[in-house]
Symmetry: C2
Subunit: 392 residues, 2 copies
Amino acid sequence: MSFVSHLACSRCRATYPAGRIHHLCTACGSPLVVEYDLERIATAVQPRDLLERPATMWRYAELLPVTGAPVTLGEGFTPLLPAPGLGERFGLPHLWIKDDGLNPTGTFKARGASAGISMAAALGVKEVGLPTAGNAGGAWAAYGAAAGITVHVAMPSDAPAANRAECAAYGANVTTVDGLIDDAAAVINEGVRQHGWYDAAGMREPYRVEGKKTFGLEIAEQMGWSMPQAIVYPTGGGIGLIGMWRAFLQMRDLGWVHGDLPRLIAVQAAGCAPVVRAILEGEEDTERWEQAETVASGLRVPMATGHRMTLRAIRDTGGTAVAVSDRQILQTMALAAAATGVLPCPEGAAAVAAVPMLREAGHLDPADRVVVINTGSALKYPREVDYPVGAA
Amino acid sequence: MSFVSHLACSRCRATYPAGRIHHLCTACGSPLVVEYDLERIATAVQPRDLLERPATMWRYAELLPVTGAPVTLGEGFTPLLPAPGLGERFGLPHLWIKDDGLNPTGTFKARGASAGISMAAALGVKEVGLPTAGNAGGAWAAYGAAAGITVHVAMPSDAPAANRAECAAYGANVTTVDGLIDDAAAVINEGVRQHGWYDAAGMREPYRVEGKKTFGLEIAEQMGWSMPQAIVYPTGGGIGLIGMWRAFLQMRDLGWVHGDLPRLIAVQAAGCAPVVRAILEGEEDTERWEQAETVASGLRVPMATGHRMTLRAIRDTGGTAVAVSDRQILQTMALAAAATGVLPCPEGAAAVAAVPMLREAGHLDPADRVVVINTGSALKYPREVDYPVGAA
């Protein structure tokens, strides 16, 4: 049984019926979002009903768009770990790390890929195409293999070797481009036009963000159905941030949580910080960041279809955006590992590195309950793990 | 509240009181095991009580030796995934993969390290030492960091780079030796003698195997409190296999499961197969395998303190042992990935590669429910992931 009422344009509110293939709004070109019949959900399920459900993101079935059996590899419901050692160092006694490295393919991208491939399969899709900075490609390739769907991936030629290798191992077709994720998008667009691939680019299909939404659902459940005061999130395309914003709004409408939404704080790399610049300059959308460069390959997203909504999510929740240097990122990987037992990926380390800066600038307060999201396993970045070791 | 009654020698049955530091049996030099008051457990907890517990191995608290809060990073309760694509290819319609790559530090070693470090902390230990083929070192380093315990690791100089790097990032002291895990043990033994480190070598401390036991508990729970007919397990030191054997015996004594124990099947690499040789030759213990060599670094264990018990577990359950070549291992990584969405580590791929051989030899039957254990994420083996891609 589906609780989806329809799809709606995130900007002009044009509506579209569920159960058919949609991409961007045909009226204004903006991303579509899935809308649910929350009143019906409120009578169908209560938080206490979730307790006995599978320890994956699919425990929140009523708030997800898939009706049949999802394509699952055990994604989501990752640990929310207290980080007292880091908290003491940063003057934030109520600090948690959400470790999304414990996912299939080692990153949070599994959430979006599980939701996206499940919906593609339900819609009868045989071939999908997506551009990626690297990790989304690996995740979609894995779920495509599990579902028997052919996956076409385009990624920068200097994306992490692990991403190219995993895509190939899962049987995906990989094209590398001398450029960034938006250059890779041109390759995919061509395949979509010529071969009818299902366009699975971030926010160009409406279901990946629903998978990412489960970040917010899990954080609320794992905190005993309450919300933290702030969530610090490493932001490339920004879809996880949009997803959390939607999750908290939906849970508040359902009466599952109460009070102010968590301040959503975007962390980017100094070498590619379009969201930070747009927040500082008060812009409604990002402009392409030229000569983007950072060791955190997942943050090397110079522009994205989802950035307009990302900026709304940040402003709507009273959040902010901040950039950290590659040096900070690399030093923080080993620092966080030794203080917590979690060795974050460079993107997760960027989020941790931002915490003391946010504290100093007054964006985080010692009374705040703060969740930092580690989006992946450092194992995907063997060169970056070696750096701080060699330099120590 | 602890349900541990005492510790007992696995061979001469000499008993030791709980709550103190113990290593090998002082009477005969064999490993000790933890014994529980199963009657008291049977009245204290039922399988249905577990449903609402945390989705980690600590949901089985009554069957674990730790009484206070464990040192946890979210280990265990990993997905048991149906593998219909592989099953069809192998003529085994009831085939599952237990994906233990979704663990902290990316391998099943997190189970033993979480239990071992939790007990070390409870016993007041400040410094532990262990020899490792690689992954156990990374896991103990991570949990040591989380617990504030100093970890000394000795590993082969040609262990995977990821293992050396993660140990260093977690702040462990790493010594590399020109040799294998048993050569590394000499370094640790020296530290134990000279500096009083807590000896955390496999089966020389009694709690790691209790963590590994949760493999069996989870498989039974995830199969609706029943047992599969066979479990195919990549075997280095063999502790996971010993742990599962103990788990199934304890669950049967508790009345949680009924019938025959699963046949425990050990898979080794052709270049290091002491358990396979001992099974074939009817020996009660293994002899050191000389010139051990395999791409599956976790299987490069030429002899181990736990091998005598491993052989007993295999024989007691009617299992067997089989060796696969490195070529089979490498080819199976990509084959398994494309068929399932799970890219196994070389050790997990060895177990998958053994399945058609076991089927052909009559050790597995189409009517059997068969669980293959993938012990870790392929991300720790970037060179091996690249091989089958390049050769494809």
